[in-house]
């Protein structure tokens, strides 16, 4: 896959080796041009104006929703709620749905490797209502043991929230089995798809979760836009958590009635251009084909792991067979932050630190890790450069 030319950031920094797509991806010309052209030629507000520009904008905005629907194969576009990002989507699930339906003694299950977006909202909700939050254990190899997961489920379990792919370990979790388990036990289930959506096909009708959440900026789209897919039964029970214009039906001094989903959950002027930019990003992924992207990234991951495993001063955290293109590691004698600085001087951008997943760090007993995560624009040569830079780092540190 030779797509570097599609991304203007590499015109600006021709030697950049960008290995932090798990944090955020760069944007192709296509997406940037769509956004610029839309502002220049078609921009207007949505759902309000009677004039041509507003009609055009509204049409494009609605098409963006349909485009997301097709991309994840959900039944209807009314299940697609635009949010600000994954974090915002999960907060809507926690405080729009679960807070309005929970009973005393309810229990929520998450895993001990959730990133903060799928950890803190549930913890805050549990604290507020004095309900119990349980953590599914993760094995030393970074996998989730379904039998141990089952043991946590009981009659009080009303909600399960798990990540599709770990943002630290790269493990792909058995979400199909978890969703089935949830259904067997009458619990609702949320899948945090932030690390999955740009890396493998997500088929909502096949998986059938109650929620599936992701962000635009990790899939070659703009920041400030995310998706909260919510099933029909959720839409019936979920209440808005932000209130204002656009989400209303009638507003009187005596009270207000709300419009239908999904608009009911999108108060205020929405992220119009961000949604249209997201549509363009989805078109870009479709052009390149998500299955081909997966093959490309899996190949890079395989090569990187093979090269890293040869070196005895590298320890890789997590060794799941079913994994995505994220690798966390540590170098003997070099703190991840020093490694990050050294690699930066070689134009190699990696993530170092706790990756917004402090409980994961604690689980694997490390204060921090270094992490590489691949995207569509990476290639084999960059893995060579990356491995060489690790040797340079060891030299700088006098090994």
């Amino acid at each position: 896959m030779n797509v570097k030319k599609d991304f203007p950031i590499f015109d600006e920094y021709p030697n950049l080796v960008y290995l932090d797509s798990g944090a955020t991806t760069h944007k192709p010309h296509k997406v940037i041009n769509t956004i610029t052209e839309f502002y220049q030629k078609n921009y207007g507000t949505v759902h309000r104006g009677i004039y041509d520009l507003s009609v055009k904008s509204t049409e494009e905005y609605n098409q963006a929703r349909k485009c997301v629907q097709t991309f994840i194969n959900s039944k209807s576009d009314k299940n697609i709620i635009f949010t600000r990002g994954t974090t915002d989507s999960i907060n809507l699930a926690a405080f729009g749905y679960l807070e309005n339906t929970l009973k005393d003694n309810d229990e929520i299950i998450i895993t001990e490797i959730e990133h903060h977006a799928n950890f803190v909202p549930w913890q805050q909700l549990a604290k507020k209502h004095n309900i119990s939050l349980k953590f599914a254990p993760i094995e030393d190899d970074g996998t989730l043991n379904l039998n141990k997961f089952k043991e946590l489920i009981n009659k009080k379990t009303t909600f399960i929230a798990v990540t599709h792919i770990s943002n630290v370990l790269g493990t792909i979790l058995p979400i199909k089995e978890i969703i089935e388990l949830a259904k067997e036990n009458n619990a609702k289930v949320l899948i945090d798809g932030a690390q999955a959506i740009a890396h493998q096909k997500v088929n909502i009708q096949d998986l059938d979760p109650d929620f599936y959440c992701f962000s635009g900026h990790k899939m070659y789209g703009p920041t400030g836009i995310g998706i909260c897919y919510a099933s029909d039964s959720i839409l019936e029970q979920m209440q808005p958590i932000t209130f204002g214009g656009d989400m209303i039906e009638t507003v009187k001094k005596e009270g207000t009635t709300f419009t239908q989903a999904p608009l009911k959950f999108e108060a205020g002027t929405p992220p119009i251009v961000e949604a249209i930019g997201l549509k363009s990003a989805i078109n870009y992924i479709d052009e390149k084909n998500i299955d081909s992207i997966k093959i490309h990234e899996d190949n890079l991951t395989k090569i990187a792991l093979k090269e890293m495993e040869k070196i005895d001063w590298i320890s890789i955290i997590g060794s799941a067979q079913k994994r995505s293109s994220t690798i966390s590691f540590n170098i003997d004698g070099i703190h991840p932050h020093d490694l990050g600085t050294i690699l930066d001087t070689e134009n190699i951008a990696i993530r170092v630190g706790h990756h917004c997943a402090q409980p994961t760090m604690k689980r694997f007993n490390v204060p921090a890790t270094a992490r590489v995560s691949f995207g569509i624009y990476n290639n084999e040569n960059e893995i060579d450069l990356f491995i060489k830079s690790l040797h340079t780092a060891r030299e700088v540190f006098g090994f």
Partner: protein, 151 residues
């Protein structure tokens, strides 16, 4: 950006063999310094006598080479000095990393610590170099149980 200037031999030595890397059981002053975004995390213990002289000092925890070596060198620099002298060293060090030291006398006070001036070339790492000094500041102001965060 010059890596060799950043990771000088003396710094790497203090990183590998940190001086006064210990918990003081009988500390009179204590502070906990944390960089929440990157996870550097050090406890600082100081023993100050009635003449306001630092008679013992120790630090413990985890962090990068910069935060660890600066902590180690700080401890060797402040021991047996009065809290007033130490306070001045701390102020000069923070100025060195965040502003410009024009006064050559001030540089003399810092001694070997001036090598950390190179950290300025890496702005994102300045907070690594200043963490222990913020903890020192908090420890000197308050006796025990003080947490400082650079964010």
């Amino acid at each position: 950006m010059n890596l060799k200037k950043l990771y000088q031999q003396v710094l790497l030595d203090h990183n590998k063999n940190p001086r006064n890397f210990k918990v003081l059981e009988n500390a009179t002053h204590y502070a906990h310094g944390v960089n929440p975004l990157c996870g550097d995390d050090f406890h600082l213990f100081i023993k100050i006598n009635s003449d306001k002289i630092i008679t013992d000092i120790g630090f413990h925890g985890t962090g990068c080479a910069i935060s660890k070596s600066v902590s180690s060198m700080m401890t060797t620099q402040v021991i047996n000095k009065t809290t007033e002298e130490v306070s001045q060293i701390k102020d000069e060090f923070i100025t060195l990393l965040t502003k410009e030291i024009t006064n050559q006398e001030a540089k003399k006070i810092l001694g070997h610590l001036t090598l950390f001036e190179n950290v300025k070339e890496f702005p994102i790492r300045v907070k690594c170099a200043t963490l222990i000094w913020r903890a020192l500041e908090a420890a000197l102001q308050n006796k025990m149980e003080k947490k400082v965060s650079t964010e």
